[in-house]
Symmetry: C2
Subunit: 727 residues, 2 copies
């Protein structure tokens, strides 16, 4: 690729970005788009108005300003302080934004070194011996390390840059880890009493002849934690009730739609064609069905929680609540029973964060399914490209002509055939790639985590490795999948192979950043799919009272993407520094974009309190080590063996630094320290409404499937059902 | 090696063993040898007699029976039950003996399969095509898998044997792990209140301006563990006092020796040559010096513990005692401070087991020294053979003649030259090998463990890996050390390389078992070095009142040796089953020998409560995996690729089994479960002498260097000093 081609591509993409951002600034001001661009405020307003707050804030009138693009939202997104973001979107959102802050800092410093020091050095070399002056037609390779002469002492500049950059990244990593761990502790200190801090999950309750699990738990805890034990709630097998409730909910929604349509028709006095009577019978039919369903649900619920507890539906797991955070923490940290596979304790997730269905599995089953998932995940990651290549091979021009003979005429046109052959393979790859995060999430949920947040965290790691392997290594090594695995069985050769292959892909990755990275941000801000979807659904239903579905930020697919760009920047920092400014732009725009989205669009559904950060840290360390390995190889190839040898301490020092951070910070991301817990407990002793809190605590972890249902009577008022629908 | 040569070697070694065992049975009956063969009883008697129990049990008279060899000790060693052994030598001794029980069982079953199934199959093959009938001149290879024809279906017998053997070993491993973990819990349940269960070590106490560490600890614990905190004892830098006390002790011993000699001289009325007056002045000179030293010690002690605590000599570590085991366990399990590198909690070792000198190091220093030790240890393990080979090269015949020209005449004799060239290299290797356990122990102690037992456990693992690498792999691969490392960088080729190399060394390892293994047992039982040493020292000092130094079993050198024989047996089980009977004999004799030694010779100095077993388990799993890897290679070489492929699940299943055991049992070897702790605490509530115990608890962890010293006044009575000399 030559420089002018790159600049053209950058120009086009920059233009597209600008267009989308302008479009966004206009579209977001249209009130009918607020369900797409500001669902959080809308949902809040709805809730307020439902609670009788009135609609005084509704300003539906036309204004000329609404058609003018403006940058006010950028200012607003920029001005919001981290504390405000924390307060409005939780610590996870802050951590997410800190990835951009951290990356921007890294690549601002790295970019300065790269552009002002490394780039001139590379450009002044003449290994590739291309004409010096014709800048626009320069091959981009001229700006990479490949252009430095073999054995040249200028390579020591790269060597020093690698050391300095590693030092800077490590310092910033330490700073961020420290910052976020302090935030985590601080947010714990400032939180009001929350059931999750007083509760633990106990699994693997041993069955003792004749007694129900509930009795066993009670006996064990009054024996071993007499002074702190408060209450417990054994989990039941509620899959049957859940499916009944799901049916009821669906029916309820249908009923609500039917009713609203008929009432609108009344309002409009549109009594044509006698359609109305049919609707009425529809409504009563649905109502009858709903009542039947509800009766079933109640019967089932009663059989679970009735006076005679039915042990066959009890799961050997329970939520155990304690009188203090300290009591819960003590039970959490210590091995309870003599058999370590029994009485397993875990942190209780937030009630809204629980995966109720994963309670049924036993210790062995869970363990085996975890192994199976790991194997499946590794296989998927390594072998992913094989089906893709196969499908790409199937979807070539001739094959398409055989399958769809009627397309023959069109496909024979040169421009169409060029598009198909040029674009189809990449489209297929993209389609397959879009499937990966949901598949990984599914695999993670099969591992039997108790909470959605842990599932997502696990999926995040999986997607990250998948991305690194299938985008970085597959492009760099570009052999068959099996060949790639083979390389890693001969660890000695890795630096050499990488050093040979990685610099060649620099131009590909530069354009990857510009196209995939920047485009993703514009599509993120403009939310085109949601917008189109809202128009489509809006045409068919114009129900203002319908529940607004505020989305949550899919961390498991977003974080790996950002981290992958970080990996590209770190790896290519000293190989081809030209990539760095484009990355810096990506991170800066991303910072603004996602701050805006977090404030307006995404709502946290649960809170891990910053537990995603260790993934970011680990990924950055991996990127550094990868850079070092490539550096060792490159200096070898460039006939500067001394530099190659002197680079060896760098990965070792980095790993030691990582180990230190792991000891220094990781424990804080697992549990809260005694000091903080005791302090909070002491503060609460003087809190006036603690008695009330304890009362709530006892029932906080009741399975929502066991809560009383009441659709039928409720359906007339058309407000949302009384049920926490987390089924 | 041919069969008759092996049988000769076996015959000679069996004869030697028999001779040594007979010798032992005679020597042990001689009362003057009891310091070597029964120091435990002797020390017990001495203690009794010092406490006024009298010498009524002394039976120093001659008896003709004493010259007759007898097998009574075998019967006695055999009859002692495991419970009695537990009571007399602790759980560690039981675990040590269980290694022999476990190995005997494994190789009894493995031997039966090997000798009655595999050996005939091997013998009937004709790959090596040697004459069928001349049994005594048979090459031993005929009995190994090498003799089975390539591609023969008989190899499926070996394949099944590998699966069956693995199953048997895993079952026995599970059984033993379960047995020992139950023993561990049971011994905790039956133990009286012990300070170590009520105490934890806190390290990394943060320094807060102006306050001493003692005040900081007090404040922190009364804040965070108000209901359970009892007392604490900050550790001081006592290296100076320790060296002073060491000097004083040395002086005290010298003084005691001088006094005893002079008093003997008085008794014998041997007033020749006026030597006596000189002795008298000697005594008073020493006494004066001792008193001076003691005054120094007291001054130093006072400056540490005086009214004005001197913060500069305080170490940021303390022993914290709690009112209950549960309180201590809670503080132990939870992260205390907000900074995870501060307020680090650890189990307190037994007071007699503490390494007082390792308290001084900080978190960072300890962490770095641990890394340095690991690196040093790996380097030593991998590079050990290089200096050995160098020294062996230097110490050849011509070199010796150049260095010691006067030996020329002797060295020129054929028999001497044969011995030197044949025996010297192996002698040098042996000498170097003898140095390894102490060196590893030293390395482990540099890691900064707080107790001798953890140091020893860590050294045990190090010695084990060292042995496996330098005896097994070095012999099998027999290339340069660097070449060996190189192999492991290409993991794909490992099975093939091992399969080619390992069977060839079968005869070497059979003779290794017979010579090194059996001989070690005879030298263990006859204790020749101690016996000779006791004779030598006995000639120079005949002081009956001298403290008897009861040795402890050096687990860190003995366990790896036994485990290595287990590894040999497992690896060669299906390659050359001829090794199995010899191993079985080794383990059976070892069982009797060590039971006898544990009852009569070795005394436990501290108790890890069975924590050595996980090492045994891990080593056995490693042996199994090694066997599987070799099997995969062998079946490939023998042109039975299907069997090779079908063996692949075996190591995977074994690793899964290991993982299951790790989860099922390992936690029990780290901490005691809440259930047991609470039960013990409840039992103790009704114990009458708890108040007394608490009083003792407060001072249980006082540094022995700070105990009052009193040699000078005491030296006249010549009994042992009042000091716990754990310096």
């Amino acid at each position: 690729m030559i420089l002018s081609a790159l600049l053209t591509s950058v120009g086009i993409n920059l233009g597209l970005c600008f267009l989308f951002f302008t479009l966004y600034s206009v579209l977001r001001k249209q009130p009918w788009n607020s369900a797409v661009y500001a669902p959080r405020q809308l949902a809040k307003q709805r809730r307020k108005s439902q609670n009788g707050g009135g609609d005084e804030e509704e300003d539906d009138f036309f204004n000329f300003d609404m058609l003018l693009p403006s940058a006010g939202w950028v200012r607003r997104a920029w001005q919001v302080s981290e504390d405000e973001l924390l307060c409005r979107s939780g610590l996870d959102a802050v951590v997410f934004i800190r990835i951009f802050v951290f990356s921007s800092r890294v690549f601002a410093i790295g970019g300065a070194i790269g552009i002002f020091v490394l780039l001139p050095v590379n450009y002044l070399g003449n290994q590739l011996s291309i004409d010096f002056y014709d800048l626009p037609n320069k091959n981009l390779e001229t700006f990479s390390i490949s252009n430095v002469n073999d054995g040249s002492n200028w390579l020591w500049v790269h060597f020093s840059a690698a050391y300095i950059f590693t030092g800077v990244v490590c310092y910033l990593l330490y700073y961020e880890y420290n910052h976020i761990s302090l935030r985590r502790i601080a947010s714990f200190h400032s939180s009001p009493p929350h059931p999750r801090h007083y509760t633990i999950v106990v699994r693997g309750i041993p069955s003792s002849g004749g007694r129900s699990f509930s009795e066993t738990v009670q006996a064990f805890l009054t024996d071993n934690h007499p002074s702190t034990y408060l209450s417990h709630m054994v989990v039941h097998r509620t899959s049957k009730i859940r499916s009944l409730i799901k049916d009821a909910e669906k029916l309820y929604r249908t009923l609500a739609r039917v009713k609203s349509q008929s009432s609108q028709q009344i309002n409009k006095r549109d009594r044509l064609l006698g359609l109305f009577r049919g609707r009425d019978t529809d409504v009563s039919h649905y109502e009858q069905k709903l009542e039947d369903l509800e009766r079933n649900v109640r019967t089932e619920q009663h059989s679970l929680t009735g006076e005679l507890p039915n042990t066959s539906v009890e799961v050997p797991a329970a939520f155990v609540s304690f009188k203090s955070r300290f009591g819960a923490a003590v039970a959490l940290h210590m091995q309870q029973g003599v058999d370590p596979t029994e009485w397993l304790t875990e942190e209780a997730p937030e009630p809204r964060d629980i995966h109720w269905s994963s309670f049924s599995s036993s210790f062995m089953k869970r363990w085996i399914s975890r192994i199976v998932v790991v194997v499946a995940c590794v296989a998927l990651t390594i072998l992913f490209l094989i089906p893709v290549v196969l499908v790409q091979g199937l979807a070539n021009l001739e094959q398409l002509e055989t399958w769809f003979p009627f397309l023959k005429g069109i496909l024979d046109l040169t421009i169409v055939s060029q598009i198909v052959t040029g674009y189809l393979p990449s489209l297929i790859l993209q389609l397959f790639l879009y499937l990966v995060p949901p598949v990984m999430l599914m695999l993670s949920s099969m591992e039997g985590y108790l909470s959605s947040s842990s599932t997502e965290k696990s999926a995040c790691t999986k997607v990250l490795w998948f991305t690194i392997w299938n985008i970085f290594f597959a492009n760099v090594l570009s052999g068959s999948a099996f060949y790639q695995v083979n390389i890693f069985l001969e660890p000695k050769n890795i630096p050499k192979i990488l050093a040979e292959a990685v610099p060649g892909q620099a131009t590909f990755f530069i354009s990857y950043v510009v196209t995939s990275g920047w485009t993703k941000l514009s599509s993120e801000i403009s939310q085109l799919t949601s917008l189109l979807w809202s128009y489509v659904t809006g045409v068919f239903s114009s129900n203002d009272d319908e529940e607004i579905d505020v989305p949550k930020l899919p961390y498991h697919s977003e974080i790996p993407r950002i981290l992958f760009f970080g990996l590209l920047g770190t790896t290519y920092f000293f190989l081809a520094p030209l990539i760095l400014p484009f990355l810096l732009i990506y991170f800066c725009i991303g910072y603004i974009t996602f701050r805006n989205q977090l404030l307006n669009v995404y709502e946290p559904k649960y809170e891990t309190n910053g537990r995603f950060w260790p993934i970011v840290h680990g990924s950055t360390i991996f990127s550094l080590i990868l850079m070092h390995v490539i550096a060792i190889g490159i200096f070898g190839l460039k006939k500067l063996p001394l530099a190659s040898t002197l680079t060896v301490p760098l990965p070792i020092l980095t790993l030691l630094f990582n180990e230190y951070c792991r000891r220094r910070f990781e424990p804080l991301f697992q549990y809260y320290p005694t000091e903080s817990i005791v302090k909070k407990d002491k503060e609460d002793q003087n809190r006036p409404n603690m008695a009330e809190f304890y009362e709530k605590l006892v029932t906080a972890y009741r399975d929502p499937a066991l809560l009383p249902v009441q659709y039928a009577r409720n359906s007339s008022s058309l407000s949302s059902p009384l049920l926490n629908s987390q089924v």
